[in-house]
Symmetry: D2
Subunit: 348 residues, 4 copies
């Protein structure tokens, strides 16, 4: 089959580079355009992009000329790695112009007619697109993927919520530096140090978690009634967010039952057949010193969330730790999986 | 006045070096002996000790010959930086032989007739020494100081407990590498990484916190009835433990009230006059990005605990973060302050 | 064709784990035995090996039982990741017993009848094996691969020596922590720090470089007459040794000529066809801020040496910098490439 | 005696903060004004300055209002921590207006009538001020301090040059991140990595070293005829530049003689009596693994340069390593020592 042409908005930034890296060899998609700011537009990607990933930039994009974000672009699907402020303007106009917009930006995640999707968790929320079409009158559409930390929290919560009902969650995050983009955090601030309270992060985690675990009723998304108490921290780790959590269930669950429910979790069709979907979305490890961000983030090409240290909590019911690759599953790969889902569901 | 001769047991290890550094210029104490293992005993300190602190070893001990631990030593007070297994044997025999033993080891912290002391928190627990004398028949005595992380947790809890009653505490620790001693954690394991579940640490924090916040009744120490849920983590930080906590009180307390109670906390006499006591034991910071281990650990020569990020908790009552210097207040300096208290209270 | 059975000596150590990782999916070789110390022998690999690499251990070896080093082993080729002291005993007896021993240990690198080989540099030195057979009476044979840093130095020197004659080399190394094995360097020593003078390293670099660049004459290896001045340093980098060098040539060479000679370098047959050989053994980069260990070490699966910062030297002729992956090209992969060469040359 | 009022230009930047920290308790000087950019001028220091040092900002300046750089300022001496581009404009006009300008900027270091001074090395170069007065017609004066790395190189070279004549020096630097100011180097670029070729740095080191070691002849400064070959590198270290060097002398010198000459070096009067002068400007260490930036940078309050690893060089005469605290001796403290020298010599 012919590959679907895709554009990457904000292709020179940290998340944009991940999109470039992942889409250069994608079985379904083919990069047709890459966009940048006023400063970079018009130059060749290899000349204007300060490439920061450890592996080299794919040759296929090196010679491509960067377009200005917002101009008319070749491509059917558009991946947005734009800063939120710019996404606010650009994404609706792209959707209006008929593009399938898969956004990693936070600008529209809270909108009641914009699906916020993790395919294994809530692919049924795509039904909101009908309302979106009616409300907005767009010929294209807009789907968003959640905040990186939220992803590492919600993916293991999903099967637990289905099985036991999640009522309360204490969250303490240890977030990697790449989550702040590039140049991001100065070495002088973070080396040998911990920085508490990443601005705006706790709110995103609370709101998005409730949306993702919410139910569709009569074409509307009803937020889950889960209480979340969140403390965020930046830690000296390159990639890989760690989430320490304690959970109160509505129905009793032992650590062994919780572990089994997560290990047995499988996404419903068509997710398991998507090119970027991992064989198992949640990996449960039993070693006392796991998960670790550096050693677990890359599991299943960075698409699986690794969970461990599952044990009883003296106050709530359960404590456990998850690790998610924040720029793969938690960002670019997550959006690509959303696009694959849209293709499989016939939206493209 | 003449200085009191003191011996340091285990003087070549990581905590032992801190004792050496701090006692070399102490206004009340003077190092009369330093001890080591079979391997180091008999050599000059500067030859047998692999000094790991950033500042140079004090000249006054460089030429001292290391004694074998457990032999008869000059000195009235003995500071123990022994591994727990060795402390188990050595500390009682030293106390029996008449020494005032101030231990940083965990071996006897749980014993009902051994005071576990943070002077600002529970100096009244020294009353257990009477029972110790009767029970054990020692002519000397044994006092212990708590685990480093426990110290960073209990010091801010103390005034909150006095004012509002602490019922439940969620604890997630981010602990520095120096807490594991030397050589301790390999670079290959911890750089750019987080290691969960420091062995034995959560149990110590739970048990010791209840002892420290316990009440003396009829010569006995009654543990505090506080529920603690603890998750420990090792992080790539040299010195300075960070404690993320959420607290449920018995009586309502706003973040502002909690902040005020901690900021106003002053130890009772004679603690404020002791040479190692900080002017304020708890420093409350209002900046959103504080406390940080690298920038707050050294406050008041590493003797103050810094608290910040105080705000309402959606599930319990309050969330906040504390930072403690784990090898100063949380280890060597803590034991030295205990010894100063014993002098001031007439035990020496 | 049937795969050749190979054994890995010292399979639980840092370099041994790299052998396991690389040989688990090798097109020519198949792991038939893994050996360990008294402590680990008899246990399953996954139980007795503290796996330290970021990617998981291959399943194929997880259940294998670790043999005791030195016992009779299934397998034709033997890869040795033994500590030098043990290699001293074990390697000759294995070669005597008929095994093809490809060693990464330093024990026999200096022996006049033991080839020290980098296939692209001096595959003709295999001719020493004839002398080895005569001298030692072994039915097997022993071939060694050089020190990790030496590899990063000699690979770019080779084409320069061929073209212009290398007379003098100033070397300042910045070596990664994994070069010291596991547990290796404590975090407390190396984080935010530089440790000069890695014991024994400068001597190895000097001696091995002269051997590798030496000529075969009448069945003997004549060391190259190159003057080397070497300063080694340990730096806080996980993998990837950086070599800063300044070179004096016998015949004049501009930076451009030197760059061209290195970029054009191709190994002679049969090396380019070996499974582990990179398409280009030396990658020349022109960006001012390259090479960097974290971003260049993995080039061509860690088999290419990356060179850059090539410019005139005000005192000698040329300055430049190389980066080599110390545990791949500089250790396990280097030995495997040697074994592939032995197969291609008919020694197996 | 009354303290001399001093102003700090660029007081909110990384070096400016060091000036603030050091001058807050200086025995001779007292901060009378602090200046900043358009953005910060008019605000209180504690409100507009993002303080990045580990110790807290001194209270004495917290409430001070930041002035705009270039306005008329109270104060007799002016310390300049300005970016070079701004220093280019501001410093001459300050000197013209009668201020004693002690600059840490690079803008005027190469001018033939502007002394570039390390008091222990070339205090006699202050004689250039006479020419400066004649040439420029300033009622004040301008004195500069060298680049941080140059300082760590030249201080140990000075006594060697005096004793044996330095003809050639190979230099490979390992420079700390704080040398790039704040925010400076992103964590994502430098952690676990080495970045070669700090822009402009090698040239500064070459030119300034020749000036500093130059001789005054007939009121003119004659550059030293030393050949320098310099390779710079940025390394993941917070503070403390390491300089690896190899030296060729005009007259033979053994490592022992070189060590003795450096250890015996004492500055000439009036330098030893200045408040910021260390008792010994060069500390020679004999341990094989010293100097180390983290453990040696703070020697003598960061004012001594530590030298070690002194041994024969197979190509030139000697190899050795020095460590200098780049933001203290190599920046703010160096300028303050210059100002003290000016006071002692009667220029103020």
């Amino acid at each position: 089959m012919d590959k679907i042409p895709v554009a990457i908005l904000g292709a020179t930034g940290a998340v944009g580079q991940r999109f470039v890296q992942l889409l250069a060899e994608h079985p379904w998609f083919e990069i047709s355009a890459i966009t940048g700011s006023e400063r970079t537009a018009g130059g060749r990607y290899k000349d204007v992009c300060r490439w920061i990933l450890d592996e080299e930039a794919p040759e296929i994009v090196s010679e491509m000329v960067v377009s200005k974000t917002g101009t008319s672009l070749p491509g059917r699907i558009v991946f947005s790695a734009l800063p939120s402020r710019i996404a606010q303007q650009v994404e609706p106009s792209m959707a209006e112009a008929g593009y399938i917009v898969c956004s990693n930006a936070s600008a529209f995640r809270q909108e009641p007619d914009v699906p916020l999707i993790i395919p294994e968790v809530n692919s049924d929320h795509l039904a909101l697109l009908e309302r979106q079409r009616v409300n907005r009158g767009w010929s294209g559409l807009l789907v968003t993927s959640p905040n990186c930390t939220t992803t590492g929290l919600v993916m293991p919560l999903k099967p637990l919520d289905d099985a036991f009902g999640v009522a309360q969650v204490f969250v303490t995050t240890l977030q990697a530096v790449s989550g702040a983009g590039y140049p991001g955090v100065p070495y002088l601030d973070i080396v040998g140090n911990i920085l508490p309270n990443i601005p705006g992060e706790a709110e995103k985690i609370q709101q998005e978690s409730r949306l993702l675990l919410g139910q569709m009723k009569a074409g509307q998304r009803i937020s889950a009634e889960i209480e979340l108490s969140v403390q965020t921290n930046r830690v000296p780790v390159i990639d890989g967010h760690t989430v320490n959590m304690a959970i109160k269930f509505e129905r009793p669950a032992s650590p062994e039952e919780a572990a089994r429910v997560m290990a047995d979790f499988r996404a419903s069709s068509p997710v398991p057949g998507l090119p970027s979907a991992p064989a198992e979305s949640i990996l449960v490890r039993s070693e006392m010193d796991r998960p670790q961000p550096r050693r677990d983030r890359a599991a299943s090409d960075g698409m699986a969330v690794t969970v461990g240290s599952i044990r009883p909590c003296p106050i709530l019911d359960l404590r456990m730790i998850s690790v998610v690759h924040n720029t793969l599953r938690g960002a670019a790969s997550g959006s690509i999986l959303n696009a694959e889902l849209l293709v499989a569901e016939g939206y493209v």
